[in-house]
């Protein structure tokens, strides 16, 4: 039984929302099959009424399948991208999103299923073919040429030519300047890209896509490394792209971004298409339920634990040009969050405390004793553990086994008479894999085999196995699926309840609000505010972090 619950017009297209109970979707009014299997319970689908004059989707994926050896990355996925629309894609890690992206990018070819552009079937044999077909993919971490200029980065391989096939740099610069103006971004085409922030690098990639006359722009988790302000700028840029008629596929783990930016959203799970819906017709819980397939326990709030004495004390920490006069303390049993924009200096402060980076003035004391600076070994000795922001680059040795990674911070403690036995490494790893419920094949497998969430657990195991007094975690759940996120949060809270002092850096405000007992906000290298759990709201934090409420001069 189908019921049309609502209808609205978006950009000249009528979109209806229908509710279906427990049946396989049949063809819609115009005969265009959307396909897929309905959830138990009610599912929500978007139906395209192809009224006269409405265009077919710019890009259409029909029943794509992709298998790698024993792994079925895509089982049955279909998705339509329309011009002038931002289409969100969500799903846990392992849902198949990145495989889908790579298929669109021309890196992989689907084992079955079709790809259509403007209604015509097409085979993408290579990234170049995808580019020629008008598909541009922007990755989370752009890959630019640091020694070359912005203009050369945009046009590498297809520079405009003048006589005798020589590069026309005037034309090149001019075109890039025009595109950047169109995007409303101030960036000089003639500067080399070395030293550009990630946000600016993404802009260069987007400029590249525009000069390729991309009809379809796929953005793979572009906001993961951006601050709130940079995200805002990116959204403006995306809106400009949308108004200019591009079809945008926007992938993100941050559900709030779906609601803010996208017109429609698709959910994938375990390689399957689950649902597609206009964003207005759904709530966050609907999305989460669709992604996970089960009811999730409501998020835990930070328990008001018994707090101990201050264990970590940071006094007037200063590093020229990076952070200034940072003073705070963390008590035993507390979870303190360090919030702020990317570039505010949070990770830098954390790294300085741990000794990876140096600082110029101030001091760090642990349990009353001053910590020597610039020595991770001394910090570890004092009982500090550090889970870095970039787990693949800094947190793990990807080519090494799980057990070696877990034992890597405990080499000295595992030593007996100067020697280190593999047995002791294995025992440590087994114990902690069990405690953190890490899913793995064998402990001797390389850690690169694991999913993002399990990899993060290995990093945690590495530090927790040292029984730290202080744990500093930088972006604990970046790039991790929802279920593991919750596990990590639970782990942090239980650590705190055991008396560990936890300092958490996070750009995900919901996470900050739910886990932290106290929130410190940094802006431009200074610690500008401290909020207790009760008075903290997302709005308040962002306001402080961006300085929006600072008006009068000093």
């Amino acid at each position: 039984m189908t019921r049309l619950t609502s209808e609205r017009t978006v950009r000249g297209r009528r979109i209806g929302t229908i509710q279906i109970a427990g049946t396989r979707v049949a063809a819609n009014g115009s005969g265009r099959r959307i396909g897929g299997h309905v959830q138990e319970g009610s599912g929500v689908f978007a139906v395209q009424h192809h009224s006269d004059g409405a265009a077919p989707p710019v890009l259409s994926v029909e029943h794509a399948q992709k298998t790698f050896g024993a792994v079925r990355a895509l089982v049955d996925v279909s998705i339509d991208l329309f011009a002038g629309e931002v289409h969100g894609l969500v799903g846990e890690n392992g849902a198949g999103k990145s495989t889908l992206v790579k298929i669109l990018a021309g890196v992989y070819r689907p084992d079955a299923g079709r790809l259509l552009i403007d209604g015509e079937e097409i085979t993408l044999r290579s990234p170049s073919a995808a580019r020629n077909a008008g598909i541009a993919v922007i990755y989370q971490e752009p890959t630019l040429f640091p020694d070359l200029t912005v203009a050369e980065n945009v046009f590498m391989g297809r520079q405009p030519l003048r006589s005798a096939r020589r590069i026309d740099s005037a034309s090149m610069d001019g075109q890039v300047r025009a595109v950047l103006d169109r995007l409303g971004v101030r960036l000089d085409p003639g500067r080399i890209t070395r030293g550009l922030s990630i946000a600016d690098q993404q802009i260069v990639e987007i400029a590249k896509a525009l000069t390729l006359d991309a009809k379809v722009i796929v953005m793979d988790e572009p906001t993961a490394a951006l601050s709130a302000v940079e995200v805002g700028r990116l959204f403006q840029v995306v809106e400009t792209l949308r108004q200019n008629g591009a079809a945008i596929l926007f992938i993100s783990h941050r559900l709030d971004e779906m609601f803010e930016l996208c017109q429609r959203v698709t959910v994938m799970r375990d390689g399957l298409w689950v649902l597609t819906s206009p964003v207005d017709a759904l709530g966050t819980d609907d999305l989460v339920r669709a992604m996970v397939g089960r009811e999730l326990v409501t998020r835990e709030t930070a328990a008001s634990a018994k707090l101990g004495a201050p264990i970590l004390s940071v006094e007037r920490l200063t590093r020229e040009g990076v952070f200034l006069d940072v003073t705070f303390e963390v008590r035993a049993g507390e979870v303190v969050a360090l919030a702020g924009l990317v570039g505010a200096g949070r990770s830098e402060v954390a790294r300085a405390i741990f000794g990876i980076d140096r600082y110029d003035a101030g001091r760090v004391t642990v349990e009353g004793r001053v910590l020597p600076k610039a020595s991770p070994a001394a910090a570890m000795e004092a009982g500090i553990g550090f889970v870095p922001e970039d787990r693949r680059q800094d947190g793990l040795v990807m080519s090494e086994s799980i057990e070696r990674n877990v034992a890597l911070a405990s080499l000295r403690t595992l030593r007996r008479w100067g020697f280190l036995r593999r047995r002791s490494e294995r025992a440590l790893a087994t114990e902690w894999a069990r405690r953190l419920q890490i899913r793995y094949g064998r402990l001797s497998d390389p850690v690169s085999n694991l999913s993002g969430g399990n990899q993060q657990k290995v990093v945690l195991a590495k530090w927790l196995s040292r029984n730290p007094k202080i744990l500093i975690v930088d972006e604990p759940t970046r790039g991790i699926d929802v279920a593991t996120k919750q596990e990590v949060h639970r782990q942090l809270l239980s650590l705190a309840s055991e008396g560990v002092a936890v300092l958490m850096i996070s750009s995900e405000l919901p996470e900050v609000l739910h886990v932290a007992g106290r929130i410190l906000v940094m802006r431009e290298g200074r610690l500008v505010a401290e909020l207790a759990h009760a008075e903290a709201t997302e709005h308040a934090i962002i306001a402080i972090a961006t300085g929006a409420n600072e008006g009068a001069s000093r």
């Binding site: 790698f68 090494e400 070696r404 036995r421 993002g452």
Partner: protein, 365 residues
């Protein structure tokens, strides 16, 4: 990963966005795999047996005391230099100045001798000098963060130049027989040359350190992922500098032994020896990218190399051609691991010719 980080190394993995990439001239660093190394060392062992068999068939003298002694003698210094080089390569660096260090040490021995210094004093001084040379390399690489390839090319030129300045075109050869005897007599009760004995003892120590101590684990970690090692509290700079210092001392020791063996000190002693050293290290299964290798493989490689050289000598193979053999072995040892991949890529090229669909690689994480 920022472009700067990506730009720093060839063959770096882009956070699983694409199938593991490589630099324009680099192999894809493959995953740690115990089986694979077993296969490599097994292969080396087989080669060694083959060489011995061939050697015996060529000359009944092959396993004679004298031949074994001269085998150890002619390669002892190279073998000594191989040990620290293997460790350095495992941390992802390289030291191309080893031969120049040897030459400079040798020149120093000659120079100090002509100035009347007592030999024990000379030995100590030259070893300290070697330590200084190694420390210089280490500091440039760790404190200034310069690429070791460029630095050690520079110090190779520099140290060779200093040797030239010290000795000029002089040839010192009036060393006392009590020292130059090591070039003639074996260690009592064995067929080993003095240098071979030093090598064996050191090899055992290094093997134990590498495979059964935290320092060894640290070395592997540094080579596989320097940042992760840093974040795990491993003193990367200290270890790397230490390894370069070790190399400096070992090369100085090799230089002293070399001088006594030949009972000659000339400024260009040892020129070009860095090639066989690097060749043996890579031949022993140590990955040029760092993070992988074993002492067993390295020792086997030393034995195979020495054996092959010896056999060539016995068969009156033109000694000029030894360089060809060494170079060939080196190439083989880096091409062989890629055979599987090469076959895959060759198939790709052929498929492209025949316009067949190309099979996809494994997904990234």
């Amino acid at each position: 990963m920022s472009p700067e980080k990506a730009a720093g190394q060839p063959g770096v993995d882009l956070q699983g966005k694409l199938p593991a990439p490589a630099g324009p001239d680099g192999t894809v660093p493959s995953r740690a795999n115990l089986q694979r190394w077993m296969r490599w060392e097994t292969g080396l062992a087989v080669l060694l047996i083959g060489t011995v068999v061939f050697g015996i068939s060529v000359s009944s003298e092959f396993l004679s005391s004298y031949n074994l002694f001269s085998l150890g003698l002619s390669n002892g210094e190279i073998a000594i230099m191989v040990l620290p080089m293997a460790l350095i390569v495992m941390t992802g660096e390289i030291d191309l100045s080893v031969a120049a260090n040897l030459g400079l040490s040798s020149s120093m021995v000659g120079y100090l001798w002509t100035h009347g210094w007592p030999m024990p004093g000379i030995i100590v001084t030259v070893l300290v000098l070697g330590l200084v040379l190694g420390t210089f390399n280490g500091l440039l690489v760790t404190r200034l963060g310069l690429p070791s390839l460029a630095v050690t090319i520079g110090t190779r030129i520099l140290y060779g130049g200093i040797a030239e300045i010290i000795l000029g075109s002089n040839i010192i050869s009036n060393f006392p027989a009590s020292y130059t005897n090591i070039g003639v007599t074996a260690v009592p009760h064995t067929d080993l040359s003095f240098s071979a004995l030093v090598f064996l003892v050191l090899a055992v120590v290094v093997a134990i350190v590498l495979h059964a101590t935290p320092l060894g684990r640290s070395i592997f970690a540094i080579g596989a992922n320097k940042e992760a090692a840093l974040y795990a509290g491993i003193r990367v700079k200290r270890i790397k500098t230490g390894l370069f210092m070790l190399s400096g001392v070992m090369c100085a020791l090799a230089g002293i032994l070399y001088t006594f063996r030949l009972s000659t000190a000339e400024f260009d002693n040892g020129t070009g020896l860095e090639l066989p050293v690097v060749a043996i290290v890579l031949f022993g299964g140590v990955s040029i990218f760092g993070g992988k290798g074993s002492m067993g493989g390295v020792v086997l490689a030393v034995l195979v190399f020495s054996g092959i050289q010896n056999v060539l000598l016995l068969t009156n193979f033109n000694q000029e051609g030894v360089g060809v053999v060494t170079g060939g072995l080196l190439l083989l040892s880096v091409l062989a691991p890629n055979i599987g991949e090469l076959r895959g890529r060759a198939v790709q090229y052929i498929d492209r010719f025949r316009r067949r669909p190309i099979a996809d690689a494994e997904p990234g994480a």
